[in-house]
Symmetry: C2
């Protein structure tokens, strides 16, 4: 029987199992075998494992302590399959990311500051440095942290996630189409006014007014978007070609670029109004990488996002989204400019997960058979 040390943490609005790479390595099988079996996959209920049987609760992080020269921790995000014994290594999860800094502080991997502690984390899925800053008043993590975010019912440690110089990480260029704004043709003779930006993730932001939406009635956008899903998808696919991400609209990837709608805010409670689409549907909140993209776009003169704000841009940008107001932050760190958001994080359980060699051997064999078939 092996015992694998792991920590169950809430990061933002996700639940994530956190492993040190050495723990998984000692299991003697690859993470592609070990993680699904530990999570209880393949099984729609993940009954025999620690997975939560939903996409936001079937997530893992693999951490490696670094020597501190460039980063303090490098981490790899794993989306663990539920009905299939698979692991998707293709992207990072902004919410789970927020657990990495807290873990490093809890483990004493970084010296604690008197007010806040900075943890330099490197995400290997995306090649992105994320500077995390967590309050440690008096050099201690508070026993009963009180920070809150929309979408999480209980408080936790406040984690400022700063994406270091996120521009152009996917395409090599902040403005991959070469233009700050474009009247993009789509469908049969229609056009939309958009800006295509690569920061955090590639996004195409549509001027909501040019799409026929009313800034005075943000609450109606979700219903309106739902009636015009094919058009939004056509714009997304046209943008994919314009950004050099695909050779034709038909060849566009499902998740890249993201598409959203933006307008000015009619009141002083927000700086912008944003409705992002996710997997073909209006998102009630916002992917963290999408909020990074919108923030960089707002700071890039000439985009349809920047033109919505007539005043000096604050460091804290307030984005109205369906579930509330999301605040993004632009900061200067010792390493360069960062753009990010506040999340919260909390440790739910410190655990040892027992797993037998026999279980792992069967899981490994089942995966090989799947590949052969």
């Amino acid at each position: 029987m092996k015992l694998i040390n792991a920590r169950w943490m809430r990061g933002g609005t996700s639940k994530c199992w956190v492993f040190e790479a050495t723990e998984l390595g000692a299991a003697g099988f690859t993470a592609d075998t070990v993680l699904p079996r530990i999570f209880g996959s393949p099984d729609i209920r993940q009954l025999d494992g620690v997975g939560g049987a939903t996409s936001t609760t079937s997530k893992a992080l693999i951490l490696t302590r670094e020597n501190g020269a460039v980063s303090d921790v490098s981490f790899t995000f794993a989306q663990v399959g539920i009905e299939e014994a698979t692991v998707d290594w293709g992207s990072n999860c902004g919410n789970c990311s927020a657990a990495v800094g807290l873990y490093a502080i809890e483990e004493g991997w970084v010296p604690r500051g008197d007010a806040v502690t900075e943890v330099r984390t490197f995400n290997t899925n995306t090649g992105q440095m994320i500077i995390q800053t967590i309050p440690t008043p008096g050099g201690q993590l508070p026993d009963d942290p009180q920070a809150t975010i929309p979408g999480a019912r209980f408080p936790g440690h406040r984690v400022a996630l700063g994406f270091l110089e996120p521009e152009g990480r996917t395409t090599g260029s902040l403005l991959p189409s070469g233009q700050t704004r474009t009247r993009l043709a789509y469908g049969a003779g229609k056009t939309a006014l958009v800006s295509m930006v690569d920061a955090g993730a590639p996004i195409v932001m549509i001027d909501a007014q040019s799409f026929g939406l009313d800034a005075q009635d943000f609450l109606s956008w979700t219903a309106a978007a739902n009636t015009r899903l094919p058009e939004l998808e056509e714009i997304r696919r046209a943008a994919s070609v314009a950004m050099g991400l695909a050779d034709s609209p038909e060849a566009a990837e499902r998740a890249i670029p993201k598409v959203g709608l933006v307008s000015e805010s009619p009141d002083e409670e927000a700086d912008l109004q944003v409705l992002m689409m996710s997997m073909g549907k209006p998102h009630p909140a916002m992917p963290i990488t999408g909020s990074v993209g919108v923030t960089v776009a707002a700071r890039t003169a000439g985009t349809v996002v920047a033109e919505k704000i007539s005043y000096a841009l604050p460091r804290e940008l307030r984005l109205r989204i369906p579930v509330g107001v999301l605040v993004t932050l632009t900061d200067d760190s010792s390493l360069g400019q960062t753009v990010g958001v506040h999340r919260t994080a909390r440790t739910l359980a410190d655990a040892r997960l027992p797993i037998s060699n026999g279980e792992l051997e069967r899981a490994s064999r089942a995966m090989r058979q799947e590949v052969v078939l």
Copy 2:
């Protein structure tokens, strides 16, 4: 910060968090406060806790080691609310029960036998002794146990759950209506041929043929039942009155008695065919207490269940249910006759759950406010 020791276990087709009573007691708040907060309730996603956000994964067991004179372990089952910060102590969970014996063996609370180890467990919710028998070849729990049950994708330790003398525990009588079989009037002038039995839980079993169902076409029963839900509920409520459980059909409780349909098996792969209803709908499997009731009914001459079997009743009774064949066991233990089923169990995680006094104080205050409102 408190650290509460807990073990996450699969019991049958449920996931259960197992606590020793002393651990919860040391938290300084009642289990009604501590369990919902640890589980992350109230929250439809149980995002900030260890609950699984479904009824079968928001369950806890509280164990007390006994001196062994009468039982080895007493245990209390807790159904932890998800959208409400509540705990329901009203019933036991047969699946979670299967984790109790394994826990006691893992902790060394009972001497291990050379082939199997018997653990005498007492459920405090129902006043029911459940004798558990688990293989321990060579005096050891196998490292890689291989027992399987329908509904669980991965194997575990085989646990024989024997309900000790389960007759009449709710009503005081095995046949609370005084009759082995009854033509029960329901609705507007209709009747059904039923037997009403109290064993494990009060049940009313309907002769499927008298209800117009064909034993040759068991697969059609679920669809047929779905089109006649009001009738089945009328029968259940009429039985509730006949069993002395309610003064009128309108006053019948939602979960007591359970109602089901029974016929002979047209082939030799099962002894009976059974479709049980649960919360008003056909159940794809079967509540464990219901399977105890059906088994006792099969051993009670004159019931509509017993008459379906024309041969000498085996100790292992095979019940065809929609998902497969469930085997129940009737045994003589040193304490008396037991009726029960095989389940499997496995430890998923050995954990410490951190929780602050502040969190518990707020949870306690929120509960008091709810009561006042």
